[in-house]
């Protein structure tokens, strides 16, 4: 047996507990093969399910949310494990947690932050079938995404089938039953160790791993879309027990869930199961095809939405915030690429436009690339090297947000304002004009209802941002509010700001001391 006795906060500490008993991969109501109960002098307690890794041993992975001495005891149907106890000292001297130092990301209001409060601004990409590529391809893809500045990746556990999928999986997640089905009580260790490695690589690269748990892209090729609800539950317990200790994991129940013919109640039960199993409260969502899920359901932490036209208008994006009351990520806004299907032929400029629009609606978006690769696949399917023009511009947008700082940009007057200014009221604002602006802009800010009030005499600086050329040009003027109305404020004494006529322009407006 191996027990950790010292670890550092948010580091994955692994308990390896050999048994001679039969393998246990529990259905929803059954006891797990091992459960560790951790307790901290502060009163904090955690129940952490382990999993049977298939080599005659149980494994528990745990990441400590607090420093200090934790006590643990084991509950298990395996008599040799039941009743084991121990202590773990969580000590900063053990070593830095690296990219996980800030702890897991959670949805906070309409935005995201790590456990220690550090804001997290998702700029994710997509490679659904990444896990089923070669080890080298996985590593290369992750390195390339990290270099491009992406900080999240959506990928599936189960293999994808259908158009643009050219590689057959080397190993499947479950063993076969005698009659050719899948045995959910026998997860394949080799497969799940590949999943472990991929998640670890993402973590080392500073990329949040958004795990798409169930699979609407099987197209009956493998039949993993036909598992029963109990079989799904066994699999979910295994994956959550295996991965939840990684601070950078997100759960997405399914991509385009409504391709499958399942009642919402089944998805709700699966979502509630994941919530109940996960001691770290990682972000949980479900992503739609044509039928929007009821993102108000309590187990959903943020709305993961596909709606083709929504990213073209900040007002549309903002309505998703209003109706669901949660953070919004538009997780498919079509792809930069060159294939014939309409969702896969955005220009880089169109995709960058959609990102700016989404951010200026108070939400977030995900990237994906669909240039046809030499082997006939796409980056959004299999990964590889990025080819598009958008990633650099998205990294630039991310840097603009990082410079503004704060928990996140809020629509200032979302009920009314067709100009869609987002910001931190009274401090900093972002306004996206796109490339259909009239060539000039007259200083104007909405008052809104929240945050610091606009007052006469407040002074602002304006930067003109060329969102495509990635330039930031400070306007050589100070904008002092001289007319503050009930809804709108102006700097009437200032000249209008000249804008480059054909560039897609945004304005950053910052309060001067």
């Amino acid at each position: 047996m191996t027990f950790p006795t010292r670890t550092t906060r948010w580091h994955v500490a692994e308990f390896r507990l050999p048994t001679s008993g039969p393998r246990i991969v529990p259905a929803p109501s059954a006891r797990p093969p091992i459960l560790l109960r951790f307790s901290h002098p502060s009163g904090l307690a955690m129940a952490v399910e382990g999993f049977d890794d298939g080599d005659g041993g149980c494994v528990v992975r745990w990441a400590a949310p607090e420093e200090g001495r934790w006590e643990w005891n084991a509950e298990s149907p395996h008599p040799e494990l039941d009743g084991l106890t121990g202590v773990v000292d969580v000590d900063p001297a053990v070593g830095a947690a690296g990219s996980h130092a800030h702890g897991p990301v959670r949805a906070v209001g309409f935005h995201f932050a790590h456990a220690d409060g550090t804001p997290f601004r998702p700029f994710g990409s997509t490679a659904y079938n990444l896990l089923h590529q070669s080890d080298d391809a996985i590593r290369e893809t992750i390195d390339d995404l990290a270099a491009a500045g992406f900080n999240k990746l959506r990928f599936m556990v189960f293999p994808q089938a259908g158009d643009y999928v050219v590689r057959t999986p080397e190993v499947m997640p479950l063993e076969r039953t005698a009659d050719g089905g899948w045995d959910a009580s026998r997860p394949v260790p080799e497969f799940f160790r590949r999943l472990d490695r991929t998640v670890e690589l993402l973590g080392a690269a500073g990329i949040q791993a958004e795990v798409l748990l169930l699979d609407a892209y099987d197209n009956d090729a493998y039949g993993l879309n036909r598992l029963t609800e109990d079989e799904d539950a066994r699999y979910l317990r295994h994956v959550v027990a295996r991965l939840a200790a990684h601070p950078h994991v997100w759960w997405s129940l399914c991509n385009e869930y409504d391709l499958l013919d399942r009642p919402d109640e089944r998805w709700d039960r699966a979502g509630e199961l994941v919530r109940a199993l996960d001691p770290y409260d990682h972000p949980r969502s479900i992503h739609n095809w044509r039928r929007l899920y009821d993102n108000r359901r309590p187990w959903i932490t943020h709305s993961s939405i596909q709606q083709g036209q929504a990213a073209d208008d900040a007002g549309r994006v903002g309505l998703f915030r209003d109706v669901y009351g949660k953070a919004v990520i538009l997780d498919e806004i079509c792809y930069e690429g060159d294939i014939a299907l309409r969702w896969g032929r955005l220009t880089g400029r169109q995709l960058v436009h959609r990102f700016w629009t989404t951010i200026c609606g108070g939400a977030y978006a995900s990237h994906g690339e669909s240039f046809e690769r030499e082997d006939g696949s796409l980056h959004m399917v299999a990964g590889g090297r990025l080819q598009g023009e958008s990633p650099r511009r998205l990294a630039f947008l991310r840097s603009i947000l990082d410079e503004i700082g704060g928990a996140g940009l809020e629509p200032v007057d979302s009920w009314w304002d067709d100009e869609f200014v987002v910001g931190i009221p009274g401090r900093a604002y972002l306004r996206y004009l796109g490339d259909t602006h009239p060539g000039g802009w007259t200083f104007r800010l909405p008052q809104g209802l929240l945050g610091e009030r606009l007052e006469p005499g407040q002074r602002y600086a304006v930067d003109v941002i060329d969102t495509w050329e990635m330039t930031v040009a400070p306007v050589d003027a100070v904008f002092e509010l001289d007319e503050v109305g009930r809804n709108e404020s102006y700097a009437r004494a200032a000249e209008p700001v000249a804008l480059p006529p054909t560039a897609p322009v945004a304005l950053r407006i910052r309060r001067l001391p």
Copy 2:
């Protein structure tokens, strides 16, 4: 006692049943003063609560949904009423139901229809405090609205207080308690007979009466916003028993509900109460100020939404359909008027634009007018004569929809299409270009997923509609589909359609036989 023995379908038949017992205005769990159980040879059964009208008598109002001989029996805590029985013959020979011949309106999918299937296309207006004007003013307002072509009116039962309210109510809905509060067990008959008359006048004018049941506009002037939940329930039972037999009644729980500090659960219980009490299943909604209600709640039949910017873009409007899965009426899209507040100073042209946008998002909108009247009030508060430029154009829009016919116009490709074509796929389409169009239009139709498929060789006619001048100019050409793609279809052989450069334009596209 007066019992009807013959009536006609959807006519309000009134039972007047004097009693010598004490007045009963029941709280939620209590028995009503009288309940009539109706049964029809077909097996149809209805339980209809009556109300105590305060003059020593109970009243039951009933509208028969089917012809034939109905039997009824009475249940009552008044011994002289309990056990009464009778029959009513519902016979077309008794007389025409007039404007009610088609029966109550209900939400059907994303649209509305009468009980007999006749589509109802809401073009409503708003006069919140109408009930508290003089009888002459009420009559004049209703006549004027009917002449202008409006077919629905939103008005409150409780009196409004605050800005632009210049008239003090002559009579209040409840009697006072000894300590100066309101006694929900003693509704004032004189007040509720005024409500009856107003609803009857609206019915005679062919206008649906949308009754705003509870009141967020009291502003503590009268204190009717401070009734307890049980007091609200007594009042709601009284109003529903009194009015539900009128086929043209709609229930709106409250306008701008979130001005009041109440948990959603209380609104839900009130909505469920109204649903349980109303044997006719009239439309039920709740209208928000800034916080959108969860319009997925089962008691809500359609979404009644206020969102200032939503009516400016068909894509935004359509999202409300997508997220709530119900018919949408944007019940406040700001008002045509001349007051200083931003919600009350739309030009007629702006309001007409918002209606066309909303219709072309697959939804409906409500009108209101806020020109300051001589007495300092507004039409949207007190009614009066309409002064605006929009009503004629809205009646024109309504006539365009009537000519197209059908159950309602659906967004053809709402997931994607930024052009927002609505229609009856393969038959007829409407597309609103507004006044920022480039002066010409190339024939193009989205394929969409539903309805009749577009096929090469199908021939279409196009009308250019000037939405402001109210002209319909047929294009002298036939548009034959010669390129039908997966998502879009074209008539490449046809010339582009010339559009009047500055007019706000819509296109009507109809399939030729």
